[in-house]
Symmetry: C2
Subunit: 89 residues, 2 copies
């Protein structure tokens, strides 16, 4: 059984209110090293067999059509959880 | 400027309604290769200098205390975005 990991993050120019809330809360809890936080989403998709180039291509399409909102988010990574990144990434 | 990436996923035994919604929608859009989807969160934390072991240790603490809900989520990764994983991960 294979697994594909997809990472989706808010575009850099888009305000990220969840990240802002986190960066404001961190110093109040004693975490004083961080200057900026962005919060995005991570998906794990399982397939029956191995993670082939076809699987990665379909995962990339799904990421762009269903899993992300292209107006405000970027698909930053589509890769085999076992290690090999998408050839075209 | 360094960047730490933190991945948080729902625990395997916890129902993930967002993942269920995605896995139901995929075949309707023609994506027929995926048998299971889990949706979690990805954080990018920036620091002024390099990502030192101290930075990774504080990021790990922040991930467990603030960024995740330990009842329903696991912190699956805390790493330097530039490549090196947390020594203790």
């Amino acid at each position: 059984m294979g697994r594909v990991v997809i990472d989706v993050m808010p575009k850099p120019e888009i305000l990220d209110p969840q990240g802002k809330a986190v960066v404001g809360a961190l110093p109040r809890l004693g975490f004083d090293l961080f200057t900026s936080v962005r919060q995005g989403r991570r998906f794990e998709l399982e397939v029956e067999g191995d993670v082939t180039p076809e699987v990665l291509a379909q995962a990339r399409q799904a990421a762009e059509k269903l899993l992300s909102n292209p107006v405000i988010e970027d698909v930053v990574s589509v890769r085999d959880a076992a290690g090999a990144p998408e050839a075209s990434a």
